[in-house]
């Protein structure tokens, strides 16, 4: 980790010194333990602020659509790099304007999971040899990092950046064993009533702060449908019908676009399980179009292309449903 951090600073220094970029987006030390904070570095004097550790949980690609036109270098984990690819494919950023400082990532630590394990407030945190060490007023704790990763990190299959101009550290072995849709499959097994109950319970926690939307690199709409007043698609209160529409539309709009970085869920102050919806839709897109977003800048998004070979069985022919595939269209 220290080594990676040192190299990030070195590379960033070279980029700024050579005038290749005028902005580095990375992480700095946070004011709270178990956290790191996104930082914008404009000059060489500030390079020592850059850090790298297992708490760099934000997807920095989310800033790229806000600094269009500038020459930017961005620190990117596997998931961040996929978002960058997706943004290039969707024409939101230009490949030549972005320098990707790619970092193979073994996953980020789920701070809430660790916080729940201890009695009292964690005042200091660090890591060493794959372990997270925490300290409070009258306790200490050691946690195996592997067991305390964010849910999206636990099932991540793209730990190595899919694009990078500068790769820091050795590539690591991808995690091919894990079933990334295990949780979705469990959800699919539930009855409609059980699913509705779970959905309602999770979404009922929402306070509509839109942290999920703001943290997401793919939520770059100039005007989000919830903010439109002409026409007004949705009311602004906490009525369950409005919360339902917000969350379903948010997930639908991610169809074939979500890289499952988990940023939405990490940003949510109410700790809502937001990924179960987007993950479900990722699975549908994978099943129907054998497509995963953010892997190749030359491949157009599944929902922006048409091929005569695409599955058509979701189109209502007016006939009685038959065959297995019908089941898949049901939520």
């Amino acid at each position: 980790m220290q080594d990676v951090q040192r190299k990030i600073r070195e590379e960033a220094k070279n980029l700024l010194a050579a005038g290749r970029v005028d902005l580095i987006i990375g992480f700095e030390e946070a004011s709270l333990p178990l956290r790191a904070s996104p930082v914008f570095i404009h000059n060489e004097d500030d390079l020592d602020m850059l850090v790298w550790n297992s708490f760099c949980e934000n997807n920095l690609a989310t800033y790229l659509t806000k600094v269009v036109g500038r020459k930017v270098a961005v620190v990117a984990k596997g998931c961040d790099s996929r978002s960058i690819v997706a943004l290039i494919v969707e024409g939101q950023i230009k490949r030549e304007e972005i320098i990707v400082i790619g970092i193979p990532c073994r996953g980020m630590v789920d701070r809430r999971k660790i916080e729940k394990e201890v009695e009292g407030e964690i005042l200091e945190a660090g890591e060493k040899n794959g372990e997270v060490l925490v300290k409070g007023d009258d306790f200490e704790g050691v946690f195996k990092k592997e067991d305390y990763l964010y849910p999206s990190c636990r099932t991540c299959k793209y730990r190595n950046p899919v694009i990078s101009d500068i790769l820091i550290g050795e590539k690591i072995k991808e995690n091919t064993e894990v079933d990334e849709y295990a949780e979705v499959k469990e959800y699919e097994k539930k009855s409609i009533d059980e699913r509705r109950e779970y959905f309602g319970r999770e979404m009922g926690k929402c306070i509509r702060c839109y942290a999920c939307r703001q943290a997401c690199p793919m939520c770059y709409c100039e005007e989000c449908f919830v903010d439109s007043s002409h026409p007004k698609w949705i009311e602004k209160g906490l009525d369950s019908s409005d919360l339902t529409i917000w969350h379903i539309m948010r997930a639908y709009h991610q169809a074939g676009r979500c890289v499952d970085c988990g940023s939405c869920e990490r940003a949510c102050p109410m700790e809502i399980n937001l990924r179960f919806l987007t993950k479900k839709i990722n699975k549908e897109v994978k099943d129907y179009f054998n497509f995963e977003t953010g892997l190749d800048i030359k491949v157009a998004p599944a929902l922006a292309t048409f091929s005569p070979d695409d599955r058509q069985d979701f189109i209502d022919s007016g006939e009685e449903p038959a065959g297995e595939s019908q089941g898949k269209t049901k939520l």
Binding site: A30, S31, L32, R35, A36, S37, P38, V39, F40, N58, T62, Y63, K66, K116, E121, L123, K205, I207, R208, C209, Y210, A211, R213, Q214, A215, D227, S229, E235, K236, G237, L238, D239, R266, A267, P269, M270, E271
Partner: protein, 332 residues
């Protein structure tokens, strides 16, 4: 000073349920908020603090002001429902005093707010569970501050000491409360002074207002707003933020007028009908949030709109820390 055993507290609260709606800290999947409870078991007074501040009791996130149908208007704010807000922390009680200045000031009284406020008795709970992000003492508060409370409870182990602060508070006390002994009062004093010492985080606010007076056009705001992602977490979880938006939810001539929380961090907040937005980017929005709290509010009400509860620090998705911001302002 009165006292009541913890078991007695259970019975006391249970007995109040006949005449009052009790709003108390209760958890849903580990997230605390102030909810109406129907029995004492649902209450968890060992909580640290609520995620959503108790301001929602007087100023709900979404509130119907009135219904209308074919030109006839029916207010939904007729019933005076007596409530007890139990177990709130002194920082949040202080925040209510700041909200009073806005919603219940001498010039403007908001009927929806004052109706709920006047009909609610607030029983606070002294805070010996402060976090490293707490800085209430920087804003004139304290973990055992009485401001904004009708009764202050102090947990001394097997019982609570109760300090009656207002007549409203005295009314609800019953025979279950006894006079506390001198030892018990001394113990409470000790717990209080230890709690005050625990608040180690401090911010300097002296001179902030005057500094901000001269900073509207400063480049500081460009820098400050860069990493902010523009969500409403800080405003919605702030016990003093009080901006709202009024909307009609209607079909033809039938509907309701609703008041919802709004956040200055949202692009829609100042969007004009013409399409012009005087706060088009994060820079103007971040400046507004800081200015409102530490300059405009001071200008209008003689004190800043922050009580140092630390919610914005803990919950910010990108770890923006208001303590750091205030420090940087003084350094500009």
């Amino acid at each position: 000073m009165k006292k009541i055993s913890k078991k007695g507290m259970n019975e006391f609260i249970q007995s109040l349920m006949a005449d009052y709606i009790i709003l108390a800290p209760a958890s849903t999947d580990g997230i605390f908020s102030f909810k109406p409870v129907s029995n004492f078991e649902q209450i968890d007074l060992s909580y640290q603090n609520s995620k959503k501040p108790p301001k929602e009791v007087f100023f709900p996130q979404s509130e119907t002001m009135f219904n209308y149908k074919n030109g006839k208007v029916e207010s939904t704010e007729k019933v005076k429902q007596k409530k007890i807000l139990l177990g709130i922390r002194p920082c949040d009680a202080r925040a209510n005093i700041l909200l009073d200045k806005v919603f219940a000031g001498p010039d403007h009284k908001d009927v929806y707010y004052t109706n709920k406020r006047e009909n609610t008795i607030i029983i606070g709970l002294g805070c010996s569970k402060s976090l490293s992000t707490c800085f209430c003492t920087s804003f004139g508060g304290g973990p055992f501050s009485k401001e904004g409370l009708d009764i202050l409870l102090m947990d001394i182990g097997d019982k609570y000491l109760a300090q009656v602060i207002t007549d409203k508070g005295r009314e609800v006390l019953n025979h279950k409360f006894r006079e506390a002994t001198r030892e018990e009062v001394r113990l409470a004093e000790k717990i209080k002074s230890e709690a005050e010492k625990r608040i180690s985080s401090r911010v300097e606010i002296e001179g902030i207002k005057e500094k901000l007076d001269r900073m509207f056009e400063d480049l500081f705001w460009n820098k400050l707003s860069q990493e902010c992602i523009g969500c409403g977490t800080c405003s919605y979880l702030c016990p003093t933020c009080h901006c709202f938006d009024i909307a009609d939810e209607a079909v033809n001539s039938e509907g309701k007028r609703v008041r919802n929380w709004d956040s200055c961090m949202f692009p829609l907040f100042t969007l004009h009908t013409s399409g012009h937005n005087p706060r088009p980017t994060g820079k103007e929005r971040m400046r507004q949030r800081v200015m409102h709290k530490f300059n405009y509010f001071v200008e209008n009400y003689k004190e800043p709109a922050c009580v140092g509860c630390g919610r914005c620090i803990i919950n910010c998705p990108v770890n923006m820390d208001i303590r750091k911001v205030l420090k940087e302002i003084l350094e500009v």
